[in-house]
């Protein structure tokens, strides 16, 4: 299948959507760049969001060295025209990197602008919340970073503890009623703090602070080129690695006139959906654990192991599959294996349907989930929820239909549906995920059927990436919409100039404080878990022998041998 874009889309954008742009550049797959002066960014955002109901996918900035900073706002126009994505660009001067903030127009930009500000030093003027997002709040000092309320007398003698005031509370009050959940807390597996202010067991205010886990993956990809980037992108997340791989490959293939064989597309879909299955099973297990139901946790993870076994049989790996290539995949699925896997998946589907419905119908589970973490459709829309969180608020948004990645999701070829639910709470999110899991089983089954019956090529050699090309790649990760933006280098055809990743949890975590206010303290971990936060992990270690003072790293073969010895009875 060839992935090309039509040139008249740029013309369409100029005529129908925004006529005053400086320049219109068409990209592949109905993506259009509109260049505007920096002062117009807010005006454009207002027009896009209010008139066309476009959704901001991500806001970011790129450092163009001497030329200045390029501010990018990526909007999703799929509701207006099929698969249309508009990238609004503005070049800001390095000496005075100021441009109007759009966070007041579309709240989704809040986190993105805070991140932009601290990573590049650009200054969106008029930000509603100027505190640090990823850097410590008190860096370089609390007054400059805005974490101290106005008028607070800071005499420089405060202790480190007192310098940080979450929720802008007075110190005396903060010590009494503020409960920190994280960065190390048994209910939250990820490095982040959610500060909740409680009265009794009632949460009256909440605040979230991220930035405990910066790994610089975007920078690493920029130095290693397109091919190695696929492996690095998988390592962004240990659970939705296939989703990251597919989104990266979609984005990289959009840089040139890509052609991908059909069989490879089916294998991609197969892996992405198996990934979704094990991710959702994992999530149900985690929620069972958070509400204190170890049995549910164990049963769900037992089922998940069987999905992992299928993945291992297909790719040879459990977590990072390493089969994503530009122009196809690196490993075929033999017909016998596909037939065997299909039988297993069909069995699994029946068992999942039985067990999951049991979980969803358990009276105590229901009493713990119904009405917890309410999020209306309007709130989800304004807050920028994505994925199952948005779909559980009855908002039909799914990248696989709106803006499909380079895989097979065509409803004419594969029968599947987008699941929505109108519970608007954690129970709704559970139902959406449970039903999606069964839909994924169906897709996997259909892909395996195709793979059983046919043979063919799995990879077409990629063409050279043109200098200075740009592309946006989207994919529906298990947790929601995942966006990649790549700008190719102007000098070297094997290196990207810059890459930006917007993960689904980036969006869903931002609305956690919104869902928390008014809930019971016992429900805080449930609400936090209900967004299915993506946990980041690394997989290497070093042995340090204190007695001898020696250090050694293990090679892969040694590790395999060690694990074989450990598991031999």
């Amino acid at each position: 299948m060839k992935f090309e874009g039509s040139l008249d889309v740029a013309e369409y954008v100029r005529k129908e959507i925004y006529p005053d742009g400086l320049e219109y550049v068409p990209l592949r797959e109905n993506r259009v760049i509109v260049k505007v002066p920096p002062g117009d960014l807010a005006k454009v955002a207002e027009l896009f969001v209010k008139k066309f109901e476009a959704r901001l996918i991500h806001a970011t900035a790129v450092d163009l060295e001497l030329r200045g900073f390029e501010v990018l706002h990526i909007y999703d126009f799929s509701k207006v025209k099929n698969r249309l994505v508009v990238v609004v660009k503005a070049l800001v001067d390095k000496d005075n990197p100021e441009f109007p903030s759009i966070a007041n127009i579309t709240w989704q930009a809040t986190w993105a602008e805070r991140e932009m500000k601290e990573l590049l030093g650009v200054n969106p003027s008029g930000m509603p919340d100027p505190r640090h997002q990823f850097l410590p709040h008190e860096w370089p000092n609390p007054v400059e970073s805005g974490s101290i309320p106005e008028g607070y007398k800071f005499d420089g003698s405060a202790t480190t503890k007192e310098m940080y005031l979450p929720l802008r509370m007075p110190i005396e009050e903060a010590y009494q009623t503020l409960i920190p959940i994280g960065p190390y807390h048994p209910g939250v597996i990820e490095g982040q703090i959610v500060y909740v202010k409680v009265e009794g067991e009632q949460v009256v205010a909440a605040d979230i602070k991220t930035g405990f886990h910066h790994r610089g993956i975007m920078k690493l990809i920029e130095r290693r080129g397109y091919n190695k980037g696929a492996f690095l992108a998988e390592r962004v997340c240990g659970i939705c690695s296939a989703a990251h791989g597919l989104a990266y490959i979609t984005c990289a293939e959009n840089l040139y006139d890509a052609e991908v064989p059909d069989r490879a597309l089916y294998i991609r879909t197969l892996l992405a959906e198996l990934n979704r299955m094990h991710s959702h099973l994992l999530w149900v297990g985690v929620v069972a654990d958070v509400i204190g139901w170890k049995t549910g946790f164990m049963l769900m993870w037992g089922l998940r192991e069987r999905v992992m076994d299928i993945i291992e049989a297909i790719t040879g790996n459990r977590v990072n599959y390493g089969i994503w290539r530009m122009g196809g995949v690196s490993r075929d699925v033999p017909q016998e294996l596909a037939a065997k896997a299909k039988r297993t998946v069909d069995e699994l589907r029946e068992e999942c349907a039985k067990l999951l419905m049991l979980v969803a119908d358990h009276p105590v589970v229901k009493s713990r989930l119904i009405g917890v973490g309410p999020l209306t459709k309007a709130q989800a829309y304004d807050g920028g929820a994505v994925g199952p969180v948005a779909r559980a608020s009855d908002w039909k948004i799914d990248v696989r239909t709106d803006n499909p990645p380079h895989a097979i999701y065509d409803p004419k070829v594969i029968s599947w549906e987008v699941i929505t639910d109108d519970h608007c709470d954690t129970f709704g999110r559970t139902l959406v995920r449970v039903k999606e899991l069964l839909v994924s089983c169906g897709i996997v089954s259909q892909c395996l059927e195709y793979l059983t019956k046919t043979t063919g090529e799995i990879r077409i050699k990629p063409k050279t990436v043109p200098l200075g090309a740009e592309a946006v790649g989207l994919n529906e990760a298990p947790r929601g919409e995942l966006a990649y933006y790549i700008r190719a280098s102007d000098k070297d055809s094997s290196l990207p100039h810059s890459i930006r990743i917007r993960t689904p949890s980036y969006r869903n975590n931002a609305i956690i404080p919104l869902m928390l206010v008014g809930s019971n303290l016992a429900d805080v971990p449930v609400v936090m878990g209900s967004t299915d936060q993506c946990l980041a992990c690394t997989d290497r270690f070093e042995i340090i022998d204190e007695r001898r003072g020696s250090r050694k790293s293990l090679t892969w073969d040694q590790l395999v041998n060690l694990s074989r010895r450990a598991s031999r009875w």
Partner: protein, 324 residues
């Protein structure tokens, strides 16, 4: 004189025996819940090649876990009320050990024949739980404060069920002496009362032992370790030891009050063991089948179950007293 010596000896013997049985009950609780959850749990017969390293059986695993804590560093937070924080676990343990002296074991009446022993035993059990609330409050941790608060709320409702059930039996049988209650002759009316009040006591024991869905005072995913957040080393080990004794004590009290005359003669010992295993199995079944309640749901559940069941058992008890 012989009686007195026998009592003295049995008082000394019962403490290690209760510890051993409590550990076995805890082992059962862990092993059974592991089997329910597709896990292995602590091994009864160790794998062949691990025997030199780990021993032939891990039957006493709960005890090893406690002993391990006694070898760990004990940290006392600066902000705590030191004296109350440190003494509470020991006082709690002393109350629990004292309580088991008033609960008969097959062949050993212990102190259960003293007047008002039922009231003494239940008072001592309450005292033991009281100190699992006071210690955490003294620790100065917000998690512990919330855990202790939940414990108080849970304690109030579960205690209601506990007291109603044992006094329904006491009214029907016209006695406040555990030994007499555990010996008594059975009748059809009493059997009916036993079922109702027994269910009530079972519900109360769930709350006292923090069996799910009532483990919210130490709900790990919500409030770290709840009441025990600041406890470590010996002090935490002492609390766990208290729990082992409480488990034994509550099982023993249940059998002696609701399954007479199993807890009297030494010949009943096999049946005592069977009854205890069944009781622990029921606890495990509830534990594995339920997620944790919110504290408010738990109180509502107790009020829904305790008030009707308590009223019913009291009516039956009064009827037996007045009519039969």
């Amino acid at each position: 004189m012989v009686d007195l010596i026998y009592t003295a000896v049995s008082l000394v013997v019962i403490v290690p025996l209760a510890l051993f049985l409590g550990v076995i009950y805890s082992y059962l609780l862990r092993k059974l819940s592991a089997r329910f959850q597709w896990r292995v749990g602590p091994m009864l017969r160790m794998y062949g090649d691990l025997k030199p390293l780990l021993g032939t059986t891990r039957l006493l695993q709960p005890l090893y876990d406690i002993l391990k804590l006694y070898g760990k560093e004990t940290i006392v937070p600066d902000v705590s009320r030191r004296r109350l924080f440190v003494y509470s676990p020991y006082l709690s343990l002393i109350f629990a050990v004292a309580a088991i002296l008033f609960i008969p074991f097959p062949g050993m009446p212990l102190l259960s024949w003293v007047p008002y022993s039922l009231i003494i035993a239940s008072y001592l059990l309450i005292g033991s739980i009281l100190f699992t609330i006071l210690g955490p409050i003294a620790s100065g941790s917000p998690w512990a404060a919330i855990g202790a608060r939940r414990e108080v709320e849970l304690f109030l409702v579960s205690e209601l069920g506990f007291v109603l059930s044992i006094f329904a039996i006491a009214i029907a049988r016209q006695s406040l002496v555990v030994w007499e209650l555990s010996r008594g002759a059975q009748s059809v009316y009493l059997a009916f009362l036993t079922i109702v009040a027994g269910a009530l006591m079972f519900a109360a024991v769930l709350g006292k032992l923090h069996i799910k869905p009532f483990d919210m005072p130490e709900a790990e995913a919500e409030i770290v370790a709840g009441s025990y957040t600041e406890y470590s080393g010996k002090l935490l080990g002492t609390y766990y030891l208290t729990k082992v004794f409480l488990l034994y004590g509550l099982v023993g009290l249940f059998i002696s009050l609701f399954l007479p005359p199993i807890a009297t003669d030494v010949l009943w010992l096999p049946l005592y063991v069977v009854a205890a295993v069944v009781f622990v199995f029921l606890l495990t079944a509830v534990q594995v089948l339920n997620p944790r309640y919110r504290i408010r749901n738990a109180i509502n559940w107790y009020l829904k179950v305790v008030i009707p069941l308590g009223a019913l058992s009291f009516i039956i008890a009064l009827a037996i007293w007045l009519v039969v």
